[in-house]
Symmetry: D2
Subunit: 327 residues, 4 copies
C-alpha cells in the first residue's frame, strides 16, 4: 500500500551517536525530493511536548554529514513515558500537520516510538542510532563504528605509555548491556583481554584470565572492561587485582563521554545515509512501526518489538581469537 504523506517530522532521541546528522540529512533530502515537507523536532520527544519544532529545508542540512552530535539536540523525556505525555505530544503533532515520524535513537527511543504508534495509530519509522550496537534485527547501529574507532585511537595512545612503563591498564569503555565495543575494541587494539557483560554473570573472567597464565611476562598489558554494575567496571576489576596480585603495576583509564563524539567514520556516514533514504522509501510504501536494519549488507525492515528484544548475541568465537592472538 503506497501512501500519500505530505509532511513528516524527524527527531533524535536518547544518547547521541555519530552519524545522527548524516541520517537527518538523508531523511530530509529524500523527503523533499519526494515532495514531502520536513519538520525538525528539537530535543527528542520533549520537543513534541514543548512544541520546539522548525522547518527543515535542503540548505538546513548542508555541511552536517561530517559533524558529530545532532543538530536537533537530544534529551531524556519522562513525560513521554506516560500516556498523558504522549497525548500532549500527539496534539502538537496534529497541530503541525505532521503525518509520520522518523525517530533516530536506541532502545529506549524505540520503546517510546512503539507505545506512541500503538496508542495513536500513528506511522513511525525508526533508525537504530546508538554507539552500543545493542539493537536486535540489525548487524550494525549508526555510531557503533565511530565509537569503536575512537576507543581504538585512545587505546593506541594508552599503549604508548603502558609499554614505556610496562604497566597493566584496565580501560573502561561503554556498553553496559552489550560487550561489542569492549570485545571488538580489544581485538582492534591488540589488548590482552576483554571483560564483557555477556560473560560477567556466568563466570569470573578475571580469575580465569590469571589462571590461564595471563601476564606471565612483565611486559605491559591492556584489558578492556565494559562498564558494569556486576564487575564494577575498570575500577572494580583493578581494585581486585591490586589486592590479589599486588606485584602488578596497575592503572585505570575511563574513556567516558568522548566515546559518543567525533566526526563519524565513513561506515557510519554511509550507513546513516542509506538508512535515512530507506526510511522515506518505507514510509512511501506504506510501512509503519518498523526499524530500518542492516542484515547481510541489505537494508531490511524490523518490527519494533523485535528490535528492542535485547537478545543480540555476541560472537563468542571472537573471545577465543582474542586469547590466541594476544599471547
Amino acid at each position: 500500500m503506497a501512501t500519500n504523506i505530505q509532511c513528516i517530522g524527524v527527531l533524535t532521541s536518547g544518547g547521541d551517536a555519530p552519524g545522527m546528522n548524516a541520517a537527518i540529512r538523508a531523511v530530509t533530502r529524500t523527503a523533499i525530493a519526494n515532495g514531502i515537507i520536513v519538520k525538525g523536532i528539537y530535543r527528542g520527544y520533549r520537543g513534541l511536548i514543548t512544541n520546539e519544532i522548525t522547518s527543515l529545508e535542503t540548505q538546513s542540512v548542508s555541511n552536517i554529514i561530517q559533524r558529530g552530535g545532532t543538530i536537533l539536540k537530544t534529551a531524556r523525556c519522562d513525560e513521554f513515558r506516560t500516556p498523558e505525555g504522549r497525548r500532549q505530544a500527539h496534539d502538537v503533532i496534529v497541530e503541525h500537520g505532521i503525518e509520520a515520524l522518523v525517530v533516530i535513537g536506541g532502545d529506549g527511543s524505540l520503546h517510546g516510538a512503539r507505545d506512541f504508534a500503538q496508542e495513536h495509530n500513528f506511522p513511525i519509522i525508526g533508525l537504530p542510532g546508538t554507539i552500543d550496537n545493542d539493537l536486535s534485527g540489525t548487524d550494525l547501529t549508526i555510531g557503533y563504528d565511530t565509537a569503536l574507532n575512537t576507543i581504538m585511537e585512545c587505546v593506541d595512545k594508552i599503549r604508548d605509555t603502558a609499554s614505556s612503563h610496562e604497566r597493566l591498564f584496565f580501560v573502561e569503555v561503554m556498553g553496559r548491556d552489550a560487550g561489542f565495543l569492549a570485545l571488538n575494541g580489544a581485538l582492534a587494539t591488540g589488548s590482552e583481554a576483554a571483560i564483557i557483560p555477556e560473560i560477567s554473570l556466568e563466570k569470573d573472567q578475571l580469575a580465569e584470565m590469571i589462571e590461564q597464565g595471563f601476564r606471565k611476562s612483565k611486559n605491559s598489558s591492556i584489558v578492556l572492561v565494559a562498564e558494569s554494575e556486576v564487575t564494577g567496571g575498570a575500577m572494580g576489576v583493578a581494585e581486585r587485582v591490586k589486592k590479589e596480585y599486588p606485584q602488578f603495576d596497575v592503572r585505570v583509564s575511563i574513556l567516558g563521554h568522548l566515546q559518543r563524539g567525533g566526526s563519524p567514520s565513513a561506515q557510519d556516514r554511509i550507513l546513516a545515509t542509506r538508512m535515512g533514504e530507506a526510511a522515506i522509501e518505507a514510509l512511501l510504501e506504506g510501512q509503519r512501526n518498523v526499524m530500518v536494519g542492516l542484515q547481510n549488507d541489505e537494508l531490511v525492515l524490523v518490527p519494533f518489538a523485535k528490535a528492542i528484544k535485547k537478545d543480540k548475541p555476541i560472537d563468542r568465537h571472537l573471545l577465543d581469537v582474542l586469547r590466541i592472538v594476544s599471547r
Copy 2:
C-alpha cells in the same frame, strides 16, 4: 581431512594495504599456538626466489597491529609469472621445510598463488589484502575500510577550501577496475557525484550530471573520480569541463599513494585478525587453494578461481541515493 603441518610461510604481495600487519600477526600467533613454525618471506613472491626468509616468533609481531604497510615488505615479481620462476620458488620452499603458504594480497597475488598451487600441488590459503575491494567472494577486503576513511578525511579537508572559495573540485581516488572507493567515498563525504569505471563504458556520466541540473547554484561541489583510462581520471574530466562549461571555477586533486598508508581502521584490524586466524584453522582442517572471504559477516572459504573472477557488482542503487541526498 585434518593435516599435520609443521611449518608454514607467510608473505604479502602486490600493492600494500593497511591491515596486512594485523593479518601477519594473527597468522603467526595462531600458527604458533598450534605448534606450527612460521617463516616470514620478504618482498612477496620475490623473496621465495631470492631466498629472503626469516623465522617469525610471537615477539616478532608485537606492536604491529596498528601500523600501516607491511613489515614483510612487498614487491612485484616478474619471474614468478613464469613456470621456471615458480620452480625456483618451490626449490627454496622445500629447502626451508615450508609445507604450506599463507598469501596476503590482491588479484594478481591470488593468480600467482593459484598457478603455483596447481603446478606444485602445494597448499596455499589466500587472504584478500587490497584497498580496492575488487575481489569476488568476499564482501570486504583488508585495507578497503581504511582507504575509504583516508579518502573521506582528505575530502573533508578539501571541502573546507572548496566551500570557502565556492569552487568545483574533481578529486581522483584509486580503483581502476572498481568504483567502490569512489562511490562510497562520495556518499561518505556528501560529494555531489562519483564517476566510476562500472558506468564509464555505458554512458557519459559527466554529460548526464550536467543535464540533470548539476551545480545549478554557485555553491561549491566535489566530484569523486576513479582513476581510469576511459575517462582520463580527474584530470581528463576536468579538462572537458573547462572546455564545455567555462563558467565553473575548476580544481583537481589527485589523492595518490597516501590512500594506501596509515594506521588501519578498527574494522580492518578486526577483519585481518579474524581472517588470519581462520587461515590457519583452514589449513589445519586440510583446506587448500582457497581464499578466506567474508560473506554476511561470516568467514567463508572461496576457491581462487572464484575470487579472481572480477565480477563483483557494485550496488547501483547507491548511485540513486547519492543523487538524491546531494541535491
Copy 3:
C-alpha cells in the same frame, strides 16, 4: 590615542587558512564585549564592492573555532586592485557605518589593506592568515602549524607504502615563495631532503643531494619539494631523476589543496584567538594600518609595509640538521 569606534567590519581574503574562523570568533566577541557592533563581509574585498555584508552576533560565531575554511568565504577581487574599485568599497563601508576593518589574510590581502587605508585614511588592522608562513614581522602565521601537521600526516602515510615497496618518493607541498612547509615538513617526517625556493636559485639541490651520497642504500626515501617554477616542483625533479638515475623506483605525490583544509591545530586556534583579541585592543588604543604579529611569543604590531616585505629568512641551520639526522 584612544578612539571611540562603534562599528567594525571583518573579512577574510586570499587563500583560506585553518584558524581563520577562530580569528573571526575572537574579533567578533572581543568587539562585542567592548560595545562595538560587528559586520561580517563576505568573500573578502569583493563583498565590500558587491555589498554582501551581515551583522555578526555572539551566537553567529558559536561552535566555529574547530572548523577549517572560513564562514565568511573568501575570493580574489580584481576590482579592489584599482583605485576605482577601492572607492566603490569605501562607499559601501560608509553606507554601513563601518569605522574600521579587521582584515585576515596573506601577502596580497595586506597589500590591498595598505592601499585602501592610505587612499581613504581608513583604520585597518591586519591579521596574518596564510599557511605559507611567508609574512615578515611575525614568527608564525595563522594556518601554518595546521598545514605542517597535515603534510606530516600525509607523508607518514606515504612512508608506509614507500617503505613497503622501497621506493623513492617526491612529495610536493605548498610554498611557492617560502620553504617553511617543505623544510620543517621534512624534519617532522624524517624525510631525507627538502628542495626549497630559498636555495633553488643558488644551486642545484638535487645534484648536491646525489653527490653527498644520498640513497646509497636501497631503502625507501622521501624528499619534500616546494612547488616551484624554477625546479618544476615534484614532477620536474622526478623527471630529472628518472633520466639521470634510472635505477631508482621513483614516485610522485602532489598534496595539493588538502593542505589548506582541516580542523585547526591547538597552536593555530590559540594564535588566532590571541591575535583576534589583540586586533580589537589595538583599534581601541587608536592603532591603525598595522598587522598583529607574534615575536618571541609576544604579540606586536607591525606596519603593513614591513609585513609584506618578503624578506623573512629561513633558518639554514635546519638544512644541516636535516642532513645529519636523516642519514
Copy 4:
C-alpha cells in the same frame, strides 16, 4: 673548550612524552655523524644500576620519529635518589666506557642529573621532555604540543555530546603544578573556563566564575580543570557545583593517561630533533650540566639549577582572553 668524547649514553626518564623517540633519534644520529659511539640505557636511571644497556646504530632509530612513548622505556628509580645508588650507576657507566650522558625527561629527571653530575664530576646534557611544560628556561618542552592537541581532540568530541544534551562538563587534564595544558586547552577548544593551580591558592575560581554570570544561558559549557589536590580536580569541582547549583546537568570526564601517548605533533618532532642535535653540539663544545632550552625560537643552554626552579609563569592575560571570547 672542545672535548674529545668517544662514547655517550642516552636515556629517557620520568613520565613518557611524545617526541622522546624523535629526540633519541637525533641524539643518536648526530653523535654517530661525529664519530661518537652511542649506548642506549633502558628504563631511565634504573638501567644504569641494573646494567640494561645496548648499542644504538643509525638503523636502531629508523622509523621511530613518528611513534609515541619511548623505545628505551622509562621508569622511576628510588635507588638513584641515594648517593649509594648513584655510585652504583657510576660504576656501570665507567664499565661501559660512557663518557657523557644525554638525559631526556622532566623536573625529577633533571634533579637526578644535577646530583649525579656534581657527585661524579660527569658531563650531562638534559633535554626537557614532559607534557606539562613546567620547566623553566625553555618556552616549550618536548611533548607539550602533542598533549595539548590530544586534549583538544578529546574536548572537541566531548563538546559534540555536551551540546547535543546541553550539559555542563568538567574535564580534568594533567598539570598538577602548572596550568599550561588546562588554560591553553580551554582557549583551543572554546571552553568557557579553566581552573588552574597557579590561581587555586589565591582565590575560589569556581565561585568567581558563577558570580561573573557564568552559564546564564542554558547552553552547554565545558570547563577544563587541572588535576589538583587543592581543588580536588574535576571530580572535586563537580561535587561542589552539584551541591551549590543543583539546576545544572553536570558531567565529569577525566582524560588521564591517554594525554601522554600518541604520535607526536610536527612541532614536537621538530623541537625534539633540533634539541637532540644541539645536545651533541653542546657536548662537543665542552658544555656540561645544562639543559637545552628554547627561548624566542633560539636554542639556548640553561643550567640545571635554573631549569628545575619551578618558577615558570603562566601568561595571566590569557585568562582574560578566555573570559572575553567564551561569552
